[in-house]
């Protein structure tokens, strides 16, 4: 069983901002197949909470992010389960309900700042249109609000940035413009889909700090998608580790980082450079994420797991809950076994 002592104080999550229950996602391919890419995921994010959803590419994390905002056409992505946001179930909400929420209550920033801004519009127009679409600021307030947000994402000369076209800005600057656009209407939930992955390492930290700082100041709930545990462990309150479309481990961030219970989480942590033991080689995880077409019974990580045993290869592995933590493993690591 999991050790459950030393639980850190969690933000009170009585009324979560976002609550995902039993979420399964299916992609319909052109040749008519229906592939399950996320299976039975559940988690919730409270006000002001920084929630990191971590997994390798192909784990389904981006699809979860896009499902929350319903950015993928129904003809392509089928959603099972519920995505509760306030009074709404986003999984089954109509466009009429979704549109006023998008850009105002729930906002999103993307992985590729180079392509997520319209190349033909000035920054001012791109910020103005999201204000205009929701009518929370009117008249001269609109421009003031834009300038204020550009300052808060650390532009020294907002007037200059307003007149710029995206191609005149660097990747980091564009991502800051995206953050400004995402926060301008004071949303309740920000979804950040690998917002720093495409940036230079030196800029990554700054952009992440801006997101964390503004989220704290605004009491914003953040769903932060990343493949990189080392990037999120300083800022995240909670972490869910996704592998092959399944939540493998979930719990308070510090707890998970210090005592990973799932061998996959432990392997991910071993990849983080500054955590590795002196003299040892940079670790990687052998093999790759199984493609959705290869899913079968048992644990999806079994072929890459050093702790694999017979019990891992059959049946459904349940998510075992222990206090604030849960893990999907027949033989979770114990505190003493890790090193």
């Amino acid at each position: 069983m999991l050790m459950s002592n030393s639980i850190p104080d969690l933000p009170v999550t009585k009324d979560p901002v976002l609550s995902i229950e039993g979420l399964s996602l299916f992609v319909r391919t052109d040749d008519g197949r229906r592939l399950k890419i996320v299976e039975n995921a559940s988690f919730s994010i409270g006000p002001g909470q920084f929630f990191a959803l971590v997994g390798e590419s192909g784990s389904g994390k981006t699809m979860i992010a896009r499902a929350v905002m319903r950015l993928v056409p129904d003809a392509v992505l089928e959603i099972d389960g519920s995505i509760r946001f306030g009074a709404y179930d986003l999984a089954h909400a109509s466009e009429r309900i979704l549109r006023p929420l998008r850009g105002a209550e729930i906002t999103m920033i993307f992985q590729e700042p180079m392509s997520s801004l319209n190349p033909l519009m000035t920054v001012e127009r791109q910020l103005m249109e999201v204000i205009d679409a929701h009518g929370r600021f009117k008249g001269p307030e609109q421009r003031e609000r834009i300038i204020e947000l550009l300052r808060r994402v650390r532009f020294r000369d907002p007037e200059l940035i307003l007149r710029a076209f995206p191609h005149e800005l660097s990747g980091g600057m564009r991502q800051r413009v995206m953050i400004a656009a995402a926060l301008i209407n004071e949303p309740k939930l920000l979804i950040a889909d690998e917002p720093t992955t495409a940036l230079d390492v030196t800029i990554q930290r700054e952009v992440l700090d801006i997101i964390a700082e503004l989220a704290r100041d605004m009491g914003l709930a953040v769903l932060f998608i990343s493949h990189d545990l080392s990037l999120v462990y300083e800022n995240a309150d909670e972490i869910a580790v996704l592998y092959g479309g399944v939540v493998m481990e979930h719990g308070p961030a510090r707890d998970i980082i210090e005592r990973p219970a799932h061998p996959y989480t432990a392997a991910l942590l071993a990849c983080v450079p500054h955590r590795r033991v002196k003299g040892s080689r940079q670790a990687g995880i052998e093999g790759s994420v199984p493609s959705v077409a290869d899913w079968r019974q048992g644990c999806r990580f079994v072929d890459r797991c050093q702790q694999a045993r017979d019990a891992c290869r059959s049946g459904d592995i349940p998510l075992v809950v222990d206090g604030p933590r849960s893990v999907r493993c027949v033989a979770p690591l114990l505190l003493g076994e890790r090193h």
Binding site: G103, F110, P119, F165, A181
Partner: protein, 337 residues
């Protein structure tokens, strides 16, 4: 930007030089020259050679070409053999009719094709998309002359709905200012004539536009489908923008560069197509003039008209470049250096 446009306009010079050289040589390679053609059959060999001498036709081709170049930079293309009038003036008189027809055909084609292509892209894979595709392919593969004749036969001759020839009926006087009838009617405030003028333009303009509609609609569809997959469209959706706003502000402007490009290329088709359409509908423009000039080997007139068409084509392309500058700030930036 002004510099970039000036450079493009300068590029006209070598193109015109090459076009006229090729034309000059080709026209003179054909057996028999203008003197043979124009002198009466019973003229003596001596009289013909005297004429040849007078027109400089006995000089080497390159020397003739040099004289032609010297004269043409002063817009002197000589006199038409057939009409006896100054070639440049003949062209200037006929050009407005051609421009009016071509521009209206272009506007009609764009106004029909761009929404059709957009709808096809947004409804990709549906029956509507299929129907638009069939219409587009029909447009591309219908020969202009055939469509023109069919329209004349059915709409004019059979149903008597629209006139089939000319620009205006006999006896209707329109003050000549620009030579573009719709514009002249507006300038003279003869609004009563607009409908009449339009009734003459509709059939030839539709004939000319039909082929372009297919091509422009297909390109628009492809361009919109490509842009729809761009990440900034997802951004626009995630901002909660209305569907119409996303289409008009994000989708179509970003699809504009390929659409404008194909329209520019289609203008070449438009110009050559207009020659046939003008002949079919007896439209008194450059096309009919060229047709007549070729049939009587009126060399100065043919040369002049080809120079006019070439210049027109090049100027249109410069105009397309200017549209690029207006649409895309990245192109503006790359040309500013």
């Amino acid at each position: 930007m002004a510099r970039a446009i000036a450079l493009r306009l300068l590029g006209v010079i070598p193109v015109l030089f090459l076009v006229t050289l090729v034309l000059f040589v080709l026209l003179r390679l054909a057996p028999g020259d203008a003197a043979d053609l124009l002198m009466p059959d019973d003229a003596s060999e001596e009289e013909v050679s005297r004429i040849r001498e007078r027109w400089g036709l006995d000089r080497p081709v390159l020397e003739q070409y040099w004289r032609f170049l010297l004269a043409s930079v002063q817009l002197d293309f000589g006199r038409s053999y057939r009409y006896g009038e100054d070639v440049f003036e003949l062209i200037v008189n006929r050009l407005p009719a051609t421009l009016e027809l071509a521009l209206i055909a272009l506007v009609v084609a764009a106004v029909i094709a761009i929404p059709l292509g957009t709808v096809a892209a947004l409804k990709k894979g549906t029956a509507l998309d299929g129907a638009i595709s069939v219409f587009a392919i029909a447009g591309v593969s219908t020969p202009t002359f055939w469509l023109g004749i069919i329209l004349v036969l059915f709409i004019s001759a059979e149903m008597n709905l629209l006139p089939s020839a000319g620009r205006l009926p006999y006896g209707v006087a329109l003050p000549h200012v620009t030579g573009v009838h719709l514009l002249d009617a507006l300038l003279a405030w003869r609004l009563d004539l607009l409908g009449l003028i339009a009734s003459y333009i509709i059939l030839p303009a539709m004939t000319l536009a039909f082929g372009m509609i297919g091509v422009i609609a297909r390109i628009t569809r492809g361009a919109i489908i490509d842009v729809a997959q761009e990440e900034f469209i997802t951004t626009a959706v995630s901002k909660g923008l209305a569907r119409g706003e996303i289409i008009c502000h994000h989708l179509i402007p970003n699809a504009a560069v390929p659409i404008v490009t194909i329209i520019g290329l289609e203008l070449g088709v438009l110009i050559s197509g207009s020659i046939i359409v003008e002949v079919v509908f007896s439209w008194p423009g450059l096309g009919t003039l060229l047709y007549q000039a070729i049939s009587v080997r009126d060399i100065p007139l043919v040369t002049g008209i080809v120079v006019a068409y070439t210049s027109l084509f090049i100027f249109i392309n410069v105009a397309i470049d200017i549209i690029y500058f207006m649409v895309d700030p990245r192109i503006r930036a790359s040309q500013a250096v």
